[in-house]
């Protein structure tokens, strides 16, 4: 999904910090609920805290794996594109595609974002090098500006 598609699909977009994550059986499957402190809301109305439910996790001696669903751990920062599912819970649009990890350069203190799905690098046999797609290490200010521009375009399209 492009940034425009993610922006359009998201009911809310926010920079968040994970404060807790726990897995439980629910509706015949294992789900992980991750609770986030909302650092800044870019789209929608989230309040100060938001909980996201994603498939997979570990309960007792059973592990449910769903490849492509992001995992969050306490202390991690991310910008997430949140979409409500039919259960009413928030999920992440496009899963790893709608997850942008926030990193802080230890030397300069500058923050950047990297799209989780950009992990899937291609090993190019022609050049014998790894290359990747998606947003990687983009300064957070530039990323926010891109999201704002995508939201503006979405608003223009909406009658």
């Amino acid at each position: 999904m492009s940034l425009e598609q993610l922006t359009s699909a998201a009911d809310a977009i926010a920079q968040v910090e994970c404060v807790s994550a726990s897995a439980t059986w629910q509706d015949g499957a294992i789900w992980t609920r991750s609770t986030f402190r909302v650092v800044e809301t870019l789209k929608g109305d989230l309040g100060t805290e938001v909980t996201v439910r994603l498939p997979g996790g570990r309960v007792g001696p059973l592990t449910a794996t769903v490849d492509g669903a992001p995992r969050f751990f306490p202390g991690e920062e991310a910008i997430v594109f949140l979409a409500r599912t039919r259960s009413g819970d928030y999920s992440v649009a496009g899963w790893v595609e709608g997850t942008f990890r926030v990193e802080r350069d230890a030397r300069t203190g500058r923050r950047s974002v990297t799209q989780e799905s950009s992990a899937f690098a291609v090993f190019d046999l022609a050049t014998r090098q790894f290359r990747s797609a998606g947003i990687r290490r983009m300064p957070i200010e530039e990323f926010r500006a891109r999201v704002a521009a995508a939201m503006a375009r979405e608003k223009e399209r909406t009658p």
């Binding site: 015949g28 498939p55 769903v66 090993f123």
Partner: protein, 415 residues
């Protein structure tokens, strides 16, 4: 054969200089690490945990014929119809879809040198529960009309795999208990229903519906997850995470002569590692090595015990064909009773051998095209500790180290 890759490292000041890959030609062959793993639950008695905290491969027990028993839910949504077939009659439609599922099963059971033979699959069964993809029933089901709450925008299909972290675990009352760590107890494939933007077509129907996704490619990929695969970084692999665009397929269609034709060598090597055939005399090669900093002083001081680069993306390329035979996320090893050691190890197994067979190994640290934050799910699956699992025994605890800082490299041949 055991070889070593020594990497001389310097911290660099620019991100551009952080990009590199290194090359080493080895005499012998190499496996894949696009596989799921689970760490045994060491809070359990040794009779249940197996007495090891080393990550174990996630896979089925295929020691008995028909061990992988798949069923598919014949309830198909029609508002809108998302599964398109060439045959529009009700029975013909079901037969056509069933044929696609069987074809996808045949792709994986068509790989030589594995115990995942056609006999490992039970005859494909049908159900009409409309909500058969329940992780707690012990049935491995494919659903086309289960509007699961997990579907977020952009998710075409997914597979939910439940595996045991302990011996003797049951997924449902009356179901057989797990006999090894990592045993898959339930695996369900869910294909997105009810979305006119996510329409799937059988191979027979695809030419008429070029805006549809190829159902066979989608199901073959998801079946890979059912069997224990994670995603691969190899773009040509069936297990590469992104679906081909509408109207296109992954690889080529299988044929009776080449039932595994859609797979890449990376997929095949991974399957041989998951379900090795002890009678296979062709794919018996291995390459082991370590990726090391020239100066141990440049290794992270916390957590203690880090003696090599972690994590690193390692790719083995067949010299003769130029094909990627395996790709792995490396940088650790583990010997019973564990826990894992972050010593820079990589290992490729189950590779074809021959007098003229040689491989090139490419290594990239996780600060370039792939970053540690991107693969947290994979790396955190290696370790368990008191923070992740209350009551975890200290002697079996480990912590994933921070990613290697940007560095440049020089190369020395292994001994």
């Amino acid at each position: 054969m055991t070889s070593r890759i020594f990497v001389g490292l310097r911290r660099t000041r620019t991100a551009a200089m952080a990009w590199f890959f290194l090359l080493l030609v080895l005499q012998q062959p190499a496996g894949s690490y696009t596989l799921g793993t689970t760490v045994p639950d060491m809070r359990q008695a040794a009779s249940r945990s197996g007495g090891t905290s080393c990550p174990q491969l996630t896979r089925f027990d295929v020691s008995a014929p028909g061990a992988v028993a798949l069923q598919w839910d014949t309830v198909l949504g029609n508002n809108p119809a998302t599964i398109l077939t060439a045959d529009q009659t009700p029975s013909g439609q079901l037969a056509e879809i069933e044929g696609v599922i069987q074809q996808a099963m045949g792709v994986w059971s068509g790989v030589s040198g594995t115990t995942l033979t056609p006999a490992a699959f039970a005859p494909l069964a049908r159900t009409s529960l409309s909500s058969g993809c329940n992780s707690s029933d012990g049935f491995d089901t494919i659903c086309f009309d289960q509007n699961d709450a997990a579907f977020a925008p952009g998710v075409l299909a997914f597979t939910r795999v439940v595996s045991a972290d302990a011996i003797g675990e049951q997924i449902a009352p009356g179901s057989p208990p797990s006999t090894f760590i990592g045993q898959i107890l339930d695996a369900d494939i869910l294909v997105r229903p009810g979305d006119s933007n996510s329409v799937f077509a059988t191979p027979a129907a695809l030419p008429s519906y070029p805006n549809s996704y190829d159902l066979e490619s989608i199901l073959t990929h998801e079946l890979g997850h059912v069997l224990g695969f994670d995603h691969s970084v190899v773009w040509s692999a069936m297990m590469f995470p992104f679906a081909p665009p509408p109207g296109q397929i992954t690889g080529v269609r299988p044929t009776p002569q080449s039932p595994d034709a859609p797979l890449s060598d990376d997929d095949r090597t991974g399957l041989r590692e998951l379900y090795p055939d002890s009678n296979d005399v062709v794919h018996v090669g291995s390459i082991h090595g370590r990726i090391l900093r020239a100066s141990p002083l440049e290794l992270p001081v916390s957590p203690p015990g880090v003696t090599g680069i972690f994590p690193a993306n390692v790719v083995a390329v067949d010299d003769a064909t130029g094909a990627i035979v395996a790709a792995t996320m490396a940088g650790w090893s583990c010997a019973d009773p564990g826990p894992p050691q972050f010593d820079g190890s990589y290992a490729f197994e189950r590779l074809p051998v021959g007098a003229t067979q040689s491989y090139q190994i490419y290594v990239e640290p996780l600060d370039g095209a792939v970053m540690l934050g991107n693969i947290l799910q994979t790396t955190t699956a290696i370790c368990r500790n008191a923070l992740s699992d209350p009551g975890w025994p200290l002697q079996f605890a480990c912590t994933v180290p921070p990613p290697a800082a940007p560095f440049s490299a020089r190369i020395r041949p292994g001994p």
